[in-house]
């Protein structure tokens, strides 16, 4: 590639970020390596059909929307008994070995241009550490972005037999004019028989470009469930990925998005079945209004040694406007025959008969339509264990419908 190193970033910038936070040398070097790799790295791959690239990440003017030395956020962290929920700097002080061991172990910082940029420049983030056998319920990380750009890194370590339900949300605080950029890398490390449900809700202002990559490594008998709601932003590129490396591990990836105006969502859900007897369930539902656009890719990759795999995927899009566009590409890649796998995708509008039924019961047409759209998200909302996340997603959907 292609995309140039923004002029505002140099080794000095990275050294300054690292020094200000009094970081250990390994992290400073990891950042510098990521910075150096920018020249070579590609943008995340985007689904393409002949003559058409569906999301143009390289068209972003990173130079004008990245201001690495002025990153401000307001983040509230709610812990649970027995677990540690720490901002990144504190975690480096209190658990230096834990962070060093796991940072970048699930997602290679040099996966692509945007992950490397994020690693080189992140200033905020959270480390959630759930020791062996601890059940941590209702861990919350509520972040507000208050600057032109903000880079974040979240690391979750759940040891053997530990469990955690985590809610992370990102929105904007004080108003900043113009285009902005938010980036977050999330890594989940699991021990044997660990369980993590990681819910996130993105409700950024509609002039924010948003990039997130969330990836989990599921150990034996471990379960990683992802819930993701995307409501805000101008353009969101979101990748949620689970590697089912341990035998009998499971994952569920549940997504909901609601786009209006000219919002663009590029949503990707991917699962690798590497161990035996693994199970995956991918469910995404989205609604598009006005000129909003969605691009969805779901990949179920069953490895050669993944005996006795079960893998399911569904994606449903509801279109409320003729000017919106939905593209979908659910993919199955199967190397082991001892597999039950299926995927399905549908695109449709609000069902005319349902609407007729409701209006015939004297519900005004607009109300009826809104009820049907709200109802469309129910199968997704039902999967959410954290009440606050479920209610927030629902409230945002209702607010958008009014």
């Amino acid at each position: 590639m292609s995309t140039q190193l923004p002029a505002s970033i140099s080794e000095e910038t990275v050294n300054e970020i690292s020094a200000e936070r009094d970081e250990p040398d390994w992290l400073r070097r990891t950042r510098l390596d990521a910075l150096a790799a920018l020249e070579e790295l590609e943008m995340p791959s985007v689904i393409e059909t002949p003559g058409r690239r569906w999301t143009n990440l390289e068209d972003l003017d990173y130079e004008s929307i990245v201001d690495p030395l002025d990153q401000r956020d307001e983040t509230e962290r709610v812990s649970a008994e027995g677990a540690k929920v720490l901002d990144f700097e504190t975690a480096l002080e209190e658990h230096p070995e834990l962070v060093e061991e796991h940072f970048g172990s699930v997602t290679d910082p040099q996966t692509n241009y945007l992950t490397a940029l994020s690693t080189a420049l992140f200033t905020t983030g959270t480390v959630i550490y759930v020791p062996e056998g601890v059940d941590a319920e209702d861990v919350k990380v509520r972040a507000e972005m208050n600057s032109t750009s903000l880079f974040s890194h979240t690391l979750v370590v759940a040891e053997d037999n530990a469990s955690a339900t985590i809610l992370e949300r990102i929105s904007n605080g004080s108003a900043v004019d113009g285009d902005r950029y938010f980036s977050n890398l999330v890594e989940i490390v699991t021990g044997e028989n660990a369980y993590v449900q990681y819910g996130s809700l993105q409700n950024l202002d509609e002039d924010v470009y948003d990039f997130t990559l969330k990836r989990g490594d599921a150990n034996r008998y471990a379960t990683i469930d992802w819930i993701e709601g995307n409501i805000g932003s101008r353009l969101t590129r979101s990748d949620i990925e689970t590697e089912l490396n341990g035998d009998s591990s499971e994952t569920k990836i549940v997504g909901a998005f609601f786009g209006h105006d000219d919002q663009h969502f590029d949503i990707n859900a991917r699962v690798w079945h590497n161990g035996e007897h693994t199970t995956a369930d991918l469910v995404t539902r989205g609604v598009l209004d006005d000129e909003a656009r969605s691009v969805y890719e779901g990949v179920q990759d069953v490895g050669r040694d993944a005996w006795d795999t079960s893998s399911y995927q569904r994606e449903n899009t509801l279109m409320l406007s003729d000017d919106s566009e939905a593209d979908a590409s659910p993919k199955l890649i199967i190397h082991n025959h001892d597999t039950e796998a299926s995927h399905s995708a549908t695109v449709g509008q609000v069902d005319a008969e349902d609407l007729f039924y409701m209006t015939s019961r004297s519900i005004p047409e607009n109300t009826a339509r809104n009820m049907l759209v709200e109802g469309f998200f129910v199968p997704v909302l039902e999967e959410v264990e954290v009440d606050e996340l479920r209610e927030d997603i629902d409230d945002l959907i209702v607010a958008r419908l009014d």
């Binding site: 689904i47 059909t49 050669r304 040694d305 005996w307 899009t317 279109m319 409320l320 406007s321 003729d322 000017d323 919106s324 566009e325 939905a326 593209d327 979908a328 590409s329 659910p330 993919k331 199955l332 890649i333 199967i334 190397h335 082991n336 025959h337 001892d338 597999t339 039950e340 796998a341 299926s342 995927h343 399905s344 995708a345 549908t346 695109v347 449709g348 509008q349």
Partner: protein
């Protein structure tokens, strides 16, 4: 020995599909592809100037286009070297445009088709059989009653001479222009033979029109062109069979199929292909469907080392519809990359795609699909269903559908499933006295039934036999 093998021995099926002839060529082009080759082909066929020009233009486009290399999971084409492939061979037949009577064919060619069961099909009073041996159609016959109604069914080279206006208008202009892809361009440059079907307004051809292609020489390319023009309100079912025995050198098949479905017309295009395991099968097939027209693609892709083929329909007129039914079988060393493309460019258009694949012994199948619903195609609907059956974990099966939806009042559904052959099903059949192979064979026959039931009985039987042979691995 399983009872299947006994059965095959008794019926000679094994031999039927895998024999080759020492054929004498009357004219063979030099290996490789140059302007001189094109001139030579065109001259040998005594073609009009405009056709030569189209060929030369296509050659330029072919040379300018890169090989497709970066598609995720696509077959490796690095062995395809056009310079090593003889683009044109005309068998030694006296009558250039084909013979009308089966008995006039040279024995050796007749024998080949005999083994494939073509005369049987003919005897069963099917409406017509065009048989192509190497690059030329050597035999074609059409029942008179259709001829009287103005139906034309002939060899494509003959059509250029005798129905020049229709061909000039439709041949690689709006449906499959050479610029479509590298192999369409190659086809445009060196095409030879194939079928031409013209059905006038409101004529229904009640019996299927059939053609059979066979590639018999080593290291050759086959580039037959099929052009079907179905005028308003007409109806026709065209069936094509293809096969090639195996050789050590690489064969290339790069055909082109263009179908024009007029208003309210209905065309069914069925094909059972069984290429040798060293054939690269890189085809372009497309239909343009007018208002309320209906296009049906039925295909069985067997054999070949690698196939890249995505029959496509462009639904141009309001209410046009499309139906795809395909089956692919990939055994050892094979990569069958196939699928379907449908463009919904008008309101109330409908399409259904049903795709089945079987992979075995390290074979690789891929469903690659595209459904595009254009802005303004309101009230359109599409349903895509892909099922893959896998025999072992050396094999690979991928599903890569793309859906581009620009319109809200549409129904789009895609479903795909992958599964192994059910142990319980096998056990059940075994407990009823079938051996393991027969049980599996029966399950596979059931799996592909949606395809076979759409085909005339001779083709359904052939498809079943081919699957049977693949299952035995005896086509190797």
């Amino acid at each position: 020995m399983s009872s299947d093998q006994d059965h095959l021995k008794q019926t000679d099926t094994e031999e039927r599909f895998d024999f080759k002839k020492d054929s004498k060529a009357a004219f063979a082009a030099e290996k490789g592809l140059t302007e001189e080759t094109i001139h030579a082909i065109s001259e040998d066929k005594d073609e009009p100037e405009w056709m030569l020009e189209r060929r030369l233009r296509a050659l330029e486009q072919f040379q300018a286009m890169p090989m497709p290399t970066d598609w995720p999971g696509q077959p490796d084409l690095s062995e395809v070297d056009v310079d090593e492939i003889v683009p044109y061979i005309r068998p030694d037949v006296d009558v250039r445009a084909g013979v009308d009577d089966w008995t006039e064919l040279p024995d050796e060619i007749k024998d080949t088709f005999d083994k494939l069961g073509i005369p049987e099909a003919e005897k069963n009073a099917l409406s017509g059989v065009g048989a192509q041996y190497e690059s030329e159609v050597v035999y074609q016959n059409m029942q008179e009653r259709w001829e009287e109604k103005g139906v034309i069914f002939c060899n494509m080279d003959q059509a250029v001479q005798e129905h020049e206006e229709i061909v000039r208008e439709h041949f690689m202009t709006t449906c499959v222009p050479p610029s479509d892809n590298k192999f369409a361009a190659l086809h445009g440059a060196v095409w030879s033979g194939g079928s031409f079907v013209y059905v006038p307004e409101d004529v229904t051809v009640e019996m299927p029109v059939q053609a059979y292609f066979r590639m018999n020489s080593e290291g050759m390319g086959q580039f037959e062109h099929t052009l079907i023009v179905a005028e308003e309100g007409s109806e026709v079912h065209y069936i094509e069979g293809c096969s090639a025995p195996k050789y050590s050198a690489i064969n290339l098949h790069s055909g082109g199929v263009e179908v024009f479905v007029g208003e309210d017309a209905h065309v069914q295009y069925s094909t059972v292909q069984n290429w040798s395991k060293n054939t690269y099968n890189l085809n372009t097939k497309r239909a343009l469907v007018e208002k309320n027209g209906r296009m049906e693609w039925i295909s069985g892709s067997m054999g070949s080392k690698a196939t890249m083929l995505y029959p496509s329909s462009i639904l141009k007129g309001r209410g046009a519809s499309d139906n795809h039914i395909t089956i692919a079988f990939a055994g050892e060393g094979q990569n069958i990359d196939t699928g379907a493309k449908v463009y919904h460019n008008a309101p109330n258009t409908k399409s259904t795609i049903e795709s089945k694949s079987i992979s075995k012994d390290g074979g690789r199948t891929n469903y690659r699909g595209l459904v595009h619903i254009a802005d303004g195609a309101e009230g359109s609907s599409t349903a895509v269903e892909c099922d893959a059956l896998m025999f072992d974990n050396e094999s690979t099966s991928d599903t890569m559908p793309y859906m581009e939806i620009n319109e809200s009042t549409v129904d789009v559904a895609h479903e795909a499933t992958v599964g192994k052959i059910g142990d319980e099903d096998v056990f059940y059949l075994q407990s009823r006295g079938l051996d393991d192979d027969d049980a599996k064979q029966m399950i596979v026959s059931g799996f592909i039934e949606p395809i076979t039931e759409e085909l005339p009985i001779e083709y359904a039987v052939e498809l079943n036999r081919l699957v049977e042979l693949e299952m035995e691995g005896s086509l190797g």
